[in-house]
């Protein structure tokens, strides 16, 4: 046990020093979706050559929904520290999709992905997006059942 305290205590102190230093030096630039540009950049990196129909930014500037052309499933983009993470909202990927008022909540079948809340400007926009995601999922299910 003594050996582990020798490892753990200095390590925790080192982590605290490092985090304080990163904060003090203002090195980190946390992602906020003020406009579509960062979303388009990350989409280009992950889905090169795939045409985007439209992008819906969450009002809290922490996530975005990207609707694709040619019937491809929508893509969820989320701020992750100073980076972004993306997931295709294919039917198999969605565990739960629920909405209330202006807020859409998406849970994925992904051990590393927490439930994501997307806040829309109004309830109608939320309903529309929810319906588009559901429709896309239904279309994909139909396509796979005919395959």
């Amino acid at each position: 046990m003594h050996d582990y305290i020798i490892v753990l205590v200095p390590s925790l102190v080192a982590i605290i020093i490092m985090v304080v230093l990163i904060k003090m030096t203002r090195l980190e630039h946390l992602v906020r979706f003020d406009d579509e540009a960062p979303v388009r950049d990350t989409m280009d990196a992950h889905f090169e050559g795939q045409a985007i129909e439209r992008i819906v930014l969450s009002e809290d500037q922490q996530s975005a929904l990207v609707f694709m052309q040619n019937g491809a499933p929508p893509v969820l983009v989320r701020a992750f520290g100073d980076r972004m993470v993306v997931r295709v909202l294919a039917p198999k990927a969605i565990k739960d999709l629920s909405g209330e008022d202006t807020q859409l909540s998406i849970a994925l079948n992904d051990f590393t992905w927490p439930r994501t809340k997307i806040i829309f400007a109004n309830a109608a926009a939320r309903t529309n997006a929810q319906s588009l995601i559901s429709t896309s999922a239904d279309h994909s299910k139909e396509a796979s059942s005919h395959a």
Binding site: P10, I15, M18, I22, L30, V85, F111
Partner: protein, 308 residues
């Protein structure tokens, strides 16, 4: 038996220097305004993964030692410990490291352990510390057994492996662009290892070397860093969590989910465990080879480039 082989592991002794170098890197990035990026949660996760790895190694390391000692005990000849056998052991450990590392990337069972090291979207000195907690489970240690069977003492092997890991710390940085040409030709460097950590299609599954990049050049896995395709770090599908427990176990959870799907044949279940990462019985995911093929289809002018 020399005393230095029996004391505290050399990687533990190096830990304070790792911390000092991380602090120096953060300050240098701030002063120079370039040479890397830091994010507090990412960096803290990386260091916590390193601490966890050290603790697990401390608890379970005896299994690897026992295995290697058993092999050493049946070795036809026992080699003495001196400078010559030390250097020979260091080189052999590095060759074995290359093949273990290659296995980690080419089989999902190995990848489940190693993916942790690639799970940051950053490339800085803390990334070097983002180490697996399940190295023993991967079975990679088996590739060190032939070295023990040659008569190299497991403690000497452990020391050389520690030196190998210490060497690998410094090149996890964007602070250094290129080293002298002769050095880039022989040794693993920041440039070579940036390629290894990148998820750009051309860079996937390349540069497995630990210390000497010559193994990649010899075995056809070397890809040079290009200025027209800057490395993007992380996984093909990046993690959405900083939780160390989830980071450490996510690929095993994925394996269990995939292999236990209804309606699969036994072969498909085994493929989900041991085939290349991204292997899928339907169109759900893509392996590195498929990602490279898709890239070449979009950019036919790059067909035949190293890595493609």
């Amino acid at each position: 038996m020399p005393e230095f082989l029996q004391g505290t592991p050399i990687t533990t002794l190096a830990a304070p220097f790792f911390v000092l170098l991380i602090i120096a890197e953060i300050i240098l990035i701030k002063v120079r305004g370039k040479g890397g990026e830091y994010e507090s949660k990412d960096a803290a996760t990386s260091v916590l993964m390193g601490v966890g790895s050290t603790v697990v190694d401390g608890l379970l390391g005896f299994v690897s030692v026992a295995l290697l000692l058993a092999a050493y005990n049946i070795a036809p000849a026992k080699l003495p410990i001196n400078w010559v056998t030390g250097i020979a052991c260091f080189v052999l450990i590095d060759i074995a490291y290359y093949w273990i590392h290659r296995y980690y990337h080419r089989s999902r069972w190995g990848w489940a352990a190693h993916v942790i090291h690639h799970s940051s979207q950053h490339y800085n000195l803390t990334t070097a510390l983002r180490q697996t907690w399940s190295g023993l489970l991967s079975g990679g240690v088996l590739l060190f057994v032939p070295i023990a069977l040659m008569g190299f003492h497991p403690l000497l092997m452990g020391f050389c492996y520690g030196l190998n890991l210490i060497y690998q710390f410094w090149f996890h940085t964007e602070m250094i662009d290129k080293t002298p040409r002769w050095f880039e030709a022989i040794m693993n460097t920041p440039s070579h290892h940036r390629v290894h950590h990148a998820n750009n299609p051309r860079y996937l599954d390349s540069n497995y070397a630990g210390v000497f990049i010559v193994w990649d050049r010899m075995f056809g896995t070397f890809v040079a860093e290009r200025t027209d395709d800057a490395p993007r770090y992380g996984l093909v599908s990046d993690l959405g969590t900083f939780n160390p427990l989830r980071v450490a176990t996510h690929e095993y959870v994925g394996i269990i989910k995939d292999a236990s799907q209804k309606g699969l044949s036994l072969k498909e279940r085994l493929f989900y465990i041991f085939a290349e990462p991204g292997w899928c019985h339907d169109e759900g995911r893509k392996s590195s080879r498929q990602i490279k093929a898709d890239y070449v289809a979009l950019h036919p002018q790059h067909k035949g480039d190293p890595g493609l």
